[in-house]
Chain length 194, copies 2
Amino acid sequence: MGRVIVDMSPSIDGYVAGEGVSVASPFGDAGLRLHRWLGFEGATPAAADDEAVARTFGGAGAVVLGRRMFDVGIGTWGDDGAFGLPCFVVTNRPEPELVRGPTTFTFVTDGPAEAMRRARAAAGDKDVVVPGGADLVRQCLAAGFVDVIHLHVVPVILGRGVPLFGGGTPRYEAETTDVVASPHATHLTVAVKR
Amino acid sequence: MGRVIVDMSPSIDGYVAGEGVSVASPFGDAGLRLHRWLGFEGATPAAADDEAVARTFGGAGAVVLGRRMFDVGIGTWGDDGAFGLPCFVVTNRPEPELVRGPTTFTFVTDGPAEAMRRARAAAGDKDVVVPGGADLVRQCLAAGFVDVIHLHVVPVILGRGVPLFGGGTPRYEAETTDVVASPHATHLTVAVKR
C-alpha cells in the first residue's frame, strides 16, 4: 500500500498562509511568497526544488484536500485542474463530481476517514497526497493517517497567518530522513512514527 | 560590530516549548525533547550538532534573555551559569547582579533596547546571542535587532505549546545561508534582511 504524504510550505516562523485567505487571495497577504520555490512570481526553481516536487507527486495516485483549499484554489488551477489525479474534497456540502481534464474532484461528505478510504482505493499501490489546508492536515494527523511530511521551509518571516497543522494534533515522534536545500527553500522529508 | 543571533529549537510544527512551562518544568510537557541534540536525555550529539552550537556561541560576547527564561532556567544552569558570558536579563523587577562563576546576570529594567545596548557594549566586536524566550525574540524581531536566526528543527510534532517567535512580528525577507543536518536536528542559518 502507498503512503500518505502531507506536503506543506511553511515560513521560518511556521505559517502556511498569511492573514485574509479568500477566493481572491488564496494565501492571504502572504500571496505566492511561500510557493515561489515552485516557480511562481518569476522564480526559477533549482534542481533541489524540482526534486522536492517529484518526491511528493512522483508516486502519487490520489489527493485528499480540504473544502476551503478547494474553494480558494479551483479558480487558479486552470483547465487541467493542476493535480492530474483523482482528488477527494472533504466537505459538508454534497456536490456533483467536477472534471477538469485529467483531474477529477469528488466531494466526500462522510469525513476525512471516508475521503482517505476512497483515495487509497483510487491510488492502489501509489501514494495519497494531502496538500492542505492546515485544518485537514491537523485532522489527518489526529487520526493517525500520515506517514510522511514533506516540509518546504521558506526563508521569510510572516509574523502572522495560518499556523502549520493548525495546532492541536497529538504528539508524534518523527525522523528527518532527508534534507535538500535550494536558495528558495529547505526541503525536509519527515517520517512520522505512529 | 558583532551580529545579533537568535537561537531557537522548534519542533516540526513550530513550537519551542510544550504547555505548562514552570520552574519545575522549564520546557513544559516537551521536557528536554527539543534539546536532545545538545546531548540531553542521554543523546550523543553528532558532528553537525556540535558545529551548530559553535556557530551560535563560537563568536559570542554577550547574551540577552527574557526574565521568564531566566526564572525557569537558572535552577538548571549549574554553578557556572551555563553561558560563561555577561548576560542581560530583560525584566520589570530590579534585582542585584548575580554572578555564577564566569557568568554574570545583569537585570535590565529599561526594556529590550537598553538590554541590547548594554550587551553590545559588553560584547565589543563579538556577537550578541538571544536564546529566548519566544516573547523576547518577538520583541527583538519587532525592533529590528536581529541579524541571524539559527533554527534547529527537531523531528517531533508537539501539537501544542509555545509558538516560535510568539507571533505578531513584522514581515521580513530572509536568506537561508547554510543547512547542516544530523539525526537529531536540521540546523538552518537564516540571515534576516532588514
